[in-house]
Amino acid sequence: MAAEETAKEATEREIARFGGQLREIFTQIRRDVIGQKEVVEGTVIAMIAGGNVLLEGAPGVGKTRLVRSLGRVFDLPFSRIQFTPDLMPADVTGTNIIVTDENGNSSFRFEEGPIFSNIILADEINRATPKTQSALLEAMQEHKVTVMGVSRKLAEPFFVLATQNPIEQDGTYPLPEAQMDRFMFKLIVPSPEPRELKDIISMTQKTMDEVADTVCTGARLLEMRRTANAILISDSVLDYTAMLCAATHPESKYAAETTKKYIRFGASPRAGQALVSAGKVLALMDGRFNVSYDDIDKLAYPVLRHRIKLNFEALSEHISPDEVISLILAEARRRREGGGTKPAAPQPPEKMGGDKGGKADKKKRGIFGKNK
């Protein structure tokens, strides 16, 4: 009992620090990024949970600035890789170069590429060739790089924050499913509201540089991750998470009607892992010590929207992934409450870092592009 009390007090302290740290992080990021609350929140959640983030938005909406600001706040080395069609894998990972020592002997030395950093900004990732894109695969999943048969571990924490432009699709290479699956979240960065735009203009008149202070470190971030990982999740919520992922597979017996109609390929098991890991952080941010169904529902959009492959029918009807997810969630919720499997009208719940979804919001989706 005494041990439990001690553990409880220690955890209480950790959580208090977690909360304080989180508040400071958001405060500092808000100094550089005006608005984009859900995108900032989603990015921070993914960083704490140890996931990579794909930011999709039109040029100039603050994607790169957000990533740079995060680098400052967490005091982590930051590399920016501008992806272009002629970028080679070695430009990302690094390569062996021949060096000559004092005695005139030549040898190979590995020259680290920009990926050897803690935060990687892969800007316009869809402009590079698939070969170069795939150079990130190992780094993103296993946090290591293999060059010339030698594997090198990357520094922790390691994040890839990639951006892509949904418009100007000429000369781009859509990310393959395997690459997409390695992003914990795909966040849609919306255009700022007029009031936010006014603040952005005012702020950048003073300076274009990021002004956020460092309030966290890489080590502290890893501590925060451990704290979040200790958050409890009940079997019921785990069951629901697994069922939700299975419901995106048209061939699954749990497949929702919407899935059978609109989805060609469903989400991978990484989606379930991402939902739970991010759900724990979200619960902690909400002041809870357990993951709830609502956490999973809220995270379903950024976790699933890039993992489900829509079929031709959905594309021809201009159905966005978010709309499909709304329908799947409605069915999953009904099943959870024991109310059958009849599909409901799409009523997207509060969601994170996405477009507003629904047919009523066609105009806005037109600006940010269809989430393919």
Partner: protein, 358 residues
């Protein structure tokens, strides 16, 4: 943890009993309806239908209620936790229940948080509710039970009425009646065949024949009040017998054939007038139709004197009856019924009698 869930569990137990009663009632109503149908098909009476069906419904209810409660509606801590979470506790209760054995600091904090949140939930928020399909099934069951009960009552009543009618018919059909054939006046003839027959209702008797004695001939079939029957066939058989019956065979004396002189003369009118002149007392003495006893006296009288022969000439057909004051076609037809007389002759005689009408 028991203490935390106690008050909610009690309330959910009451709700569970209510639901079990409702669902058991659905089963019972359907069982009642089906039992009513079966009993009705077996042509049971109304008391049996309701007795058996009521017992079946009650038995199903009594069996289903505890099973449903124990297997389906009795609240467990898990169901209590889930119901509480559904009130907006964001899975705090179910996590507390499932991670009850966890001794980590996070689990302890989670329990503390959950208990705090749960205690703020008034138990009245756990509402009594019955799923719409259950309500619909309950209504359907009630309608089914009421419908089958009403239909069977109506049908059973009708069947009972029919059965009663049939029984009555059967009783009547089994009733037998006695038909007795007698001679109206002893010594005037006999009856051949079964003179006393037992006949079922609507049945018919075996034929009997009225055989006159010497000097007599068959006259008619009459009832006890001497009213002739419509059917004067001889031999005779009664058809569609619906009551006890006594049938009398009436015979009449055969008159002596007229003398040759009289036959040559043939003037009946003048004969009659002569007769009236010659024997005026006779008219006073014998104005009526003779009774069976009188007939025999008359027969003797006729055999004894010439005035009797004159009287015989005044009688129509056989001379035994005097129709001069009481004649008409109807009487004639009655008289001629059953006799083997050609229709043409009947018509001639009828016309003749019409001329005698005053």
């Amino acid at each position: 943890m028991d203490d935390v869930f106690k008050k909610y569990k009690k309330r959910l137990a009451r709700i569970g009993i209510g639901k079990a009663v409702a669902v058991a009632l659905i089963f019972a109503l359907f069982a009642f309806g089906i039992a009513v149908l079966i009993a009705w098909l077996c042509r049971a009476g109304i008391p049996v239908i309701f007795g058996v069906s009521g017992a079946a419904g009650a038995a199903v209810f009594a069996i289903a209620l505890p099973i449903l409660y124990v297997k389906r509606f009795r609240p467990t801590e898990r169901t209590v936790a889930k119901r509480l979470d559904a009130l907006g506790l964001k899975e705090r209760a179910i996590t507390m229940y499932e991670c009850g054995e966890d001794v980590s600091g996070m689990a302890a904090l989670q329990r503390q948080d959950a208990v705090h949140k749960i205690s703020s939930v008034p138990q009245g928020r756990l509402k009594y509710s019955l799923a719409l399909p259950a309500v619909l099934l309950l209504l359907l069951g009630a309608a089914f039970a009421a419908g089958t009960a009403t239909a069977s009552v109506i049908s059973a009543a009708a069947t009972q009425e029919e059965a009663e009618e049939e029984t009555e018919e059967e009783i009547i059909a089994e009733t037998t009646f006695t038909v007795i054939y007698k001679v109206y006046e002893e010594g005037t003839g006999t009856i051949e065949g079964l003179t006393e027959q037992q006949v079922k209702k609507g049945g018919f008797t075996e034929e009997v024949t009225a055989v006159p004695a010497d000097g007599y001939r068959f006259s008619e079939w009459v009832d006890e009040n001497a009213v002739p029957f419509a059917n004067q066939n001889n031999p005779r058989s009664e058809v569609n017998v619906r009551a006890d019956l006594v049938v009398y065979a009436r015979f009449e004396k055969v008159s002596q054939p007229p003398s040759e002189d009289e036959d040559v003369d043939g003037d009946i009118e003048s004969d009659k007038g002569d007769h009236e002149k010659n024997d005026p007392d006779k008219e006073e003495k014998d104005p009526q139709e003779p009774t069976p006893s009188e007939g025999s006296q008359e027969g003797e009288g006729n055999a004894g004197g010439g005035s009797d022969a004159s009287s015989a000439n005044n009688n129509v057909i056989d001379g035994t009856q005097d129709y001069k004051d009481n004649f008409d076609r109807e009487t004639l037809e009655k008289e001629l019924a059953g006799r083997d007389i050609p229709d043409e002759l009947k018509d001639i005689l009828g016309d003749y009698y019409d001329t005698l009408k005053p």
